[in-house]
């Protein structure tokens, strides 16, 4: 890696703000889940709290307006918000409204934003990974100086599709960032109980693919490293596997209650992660230290983030459900 350039701290204040926006958005959904039916929410509902720095830092290092793109799995609200999607449209999708980004047809697991290069969130574990190969292939095919990021969880690495894809990506040198969000668990199954080799990064060594491990709770590390890597991928197209170490605060989905969570992790473990590894607190402390963030700014950002989430919910609540005629539309192009 090249010598570290001095940090553009105003950019990090913006990233900090984005992380707070995502957190407030997710926490509002978590809170309103008691009222899910009234809002139109249903399904599983996978929240991103605790993992914000990955989407914000990585997507923040891409140039979406110039053709960079990304694809994700079902824990996907944060990707869209990090890319600058309209929070109202994301919330409306989560509530199955006509104004949602997928017209209310996809729901929480299937957010997308074609205009921002977000090729969607997918619900089959590992199913999005091969598609990233194709997205990257198209970039290379057209000689674009662009990259594609593919977000997936540790659980995906136990799908055959993952291994076929990584082999081909390396063989064809496609510019795809395979962004593993290693939060330690696939639903209620820990890495220890599901991966024969628990050093997940080393599992891709057999493909001779470039790889790196990044602390996914540290927005500075995520962004600096990814910006550098993206630049190198644009100069010389190749895939990179990135293991982001992170932690999920909520249950796997809304059905993973405190009772079911007690089968695989302690309340203490969650509390400790929130205390010691929170990406927002971490960034906050560093930015205060650097003198670019003040307590007044923090309070202001917090208030605006909360207001933004509330406004998104209000926009959704005031939006109509899809017209019944929508049922049969968009089956074919």
């Amino acid at each position: 890696m090249a010598k570290k350039p001095t940090l553009d701290l105003t950019k990090y204040v913006r990233f900090y703000e984005q992380m707070v926006y995502i957190r407030e958005f997710e926490e509002l959904i978590g809170k309103e889940w008691n009222n899910a039916a009234a809002h139109g929410m249903g399904g599983y509902m996978h929240l991103y709290s605790g993992e914000e720095a990955i989407a914000v830092g990585l997507i923040g290092g891409m140039d979406l307006s110039a053709g960079d793109c990304f694809i994700g799995h079902y824990r996907d609200h944060g990707y869209a918000l990090a890319a600058g999607s309209d929070p109202g449209e994301v919330m409306a999708e989560i509530c199955g409204k006509a104004t949602g980004c997928s017209k209310g047809k996809g729901g929480s697991m299937h957010i997308c934003d074609a205009a921002r290069g977000f090729y969607g969130g997918y619900g089959i574990v590992g199913g999005n990974v091969p598609i990233a190969l194709g997205l990257g292939w198209a970039l290379k095919y057209r000689n674009q100086k662009n990259v594609c990021a593919c977000f997936f969880g540790d659980g995906s690495m136990n799908q055959g599709a993952f291994h076929e894809t990584l082999n081909m990506a390396q063989l064809y040198k496609v510019p795809v960032i395979f962004a593993l969000e290693n939060n330690g668990y696939a639903m209620g199954t820990s890495i220890e109980r599901s991966h024969a080799n628990q050093n997940l990064r080393s599992r891709v060594d057999s493909f001779a693919m470039r790889s790196v491990t990044i602390n996914g709770q540290d927005i500075f590390e995520v962004h600096e490293q990814m910006s550098q890597i993206i630049q190198e991928m644009k100069e010389d197209p190749h895939p990179v596997f990135v293991e982001f170490k992170t932690y999920r605060y909520h249950g796997h989905g809304a059905a993973d209650t405190p009772v079911t969570q007690s089968t695989y992790r302690t309340r203490d473990e969650v509390a400790r992660a929130k205390e010691e590894k929170d990406p927002i607190k971490f960034a906050q402390a560093k930015l205060i230290d650097a003198g670019v963030l003040t307590n007044e700014m923090i309070a202001d950002i917090q208030a605006r983030a909360y207001a933004s989430a509330e406004a998104a919910m209000k926009f959704s609540d005031e939006s109509p459900y899809p017209d019944p005629s929508e049922l049969i539309k968009d089956v074919y192009a």
Binding site: G43, Q159, L327
Partner: protein, 337 residues
Amino acid sequence: MARLRYADAISSALREEMLADDRVFIAGEEVGQYLGTLGVTSGFLKEFGPMRVVDTPISEVGILGLGIGSAMAGLRPVCEMMRMDFAMVAYDQVINHAAKIRYMFGGQFKVPMVIRGPSGVGRQLSAQHSQSLEVLFAHVPGLKVVVPATPADMKGLLKTAMRDDNPVIVMEALRLYFEKPDVLDAILPGLSEVPDDPDFTVPFGQANVLRVGTDVTLIGYSTMTIQCLKAANILAQEGISAEVVDLRTLLPLDMATPIASIKKTHRAVVVQEQWGLYGCAAEISAQIAERAFHDLDAPVQRVTGAFVPMPYARNLENISFPSEHDIVIAAKRTLGR
């Protein structure tokens, strides 16, 4: 008789067969330590240990391979798919392998395994988690396909599946899992009742007349049998006597029972939760046309789900699969009303 929920019937069938036959083991995601995604294997890990209740990675190909190979080698695996949609990841293991092994090797091997899991439309789970894909399995020689509607059939058919010497696909209706006995019994008295006898089983290939009637035959399976029963209740209020035939298994398929019913009522409505095109209802309608054409007083009506991926929005989801009212309308159409 016990009054059970569908999910309880699954648990009790699995547990009884595991107690009765130590070759039986269960493999799947979250079946052990997590106590089952939907709780049906709660307590099993503690009772039977980790060789018989196997927590797996998210590796459906591996889970089904584990099942097929160990079945060929003499064990009796039950492979749980967290949702049957995920079996598509490992469709090759089912279609190109499990279904072929008996025939392809001239009867030298058998594959006594069960592939089971929740299926069908749920609560706003949208396109990738709401499918009823039984037709994809029922199309393939070498497989058996079970589609229970009632707690008793769920238990009895699952037990038969676990004793069968062939690969059996058990499609469990997610929407029925936690339906309360009171709710079921209000639709049809006794609907939630399950015999206590541990040797109670339900044979494959025997459709069941759940409600006797004279004017029209409603043919369904799984969730749609329940919809047919609700429709029959509405029709009864309007003076129309509907007979409800529950198919129970799609492969083998018992056509004798529905045809005997049609010979009496001369009218038939066939109902299926998802896509009608090339679907199970199409097959049943064709067989009725072949075998009972002259007994019909009206064209057979099909009631099927909309030909679309399942939408998320609640209002769209609700109109994407057949309601009891759709069935009522179709039944009246056969009566010219």
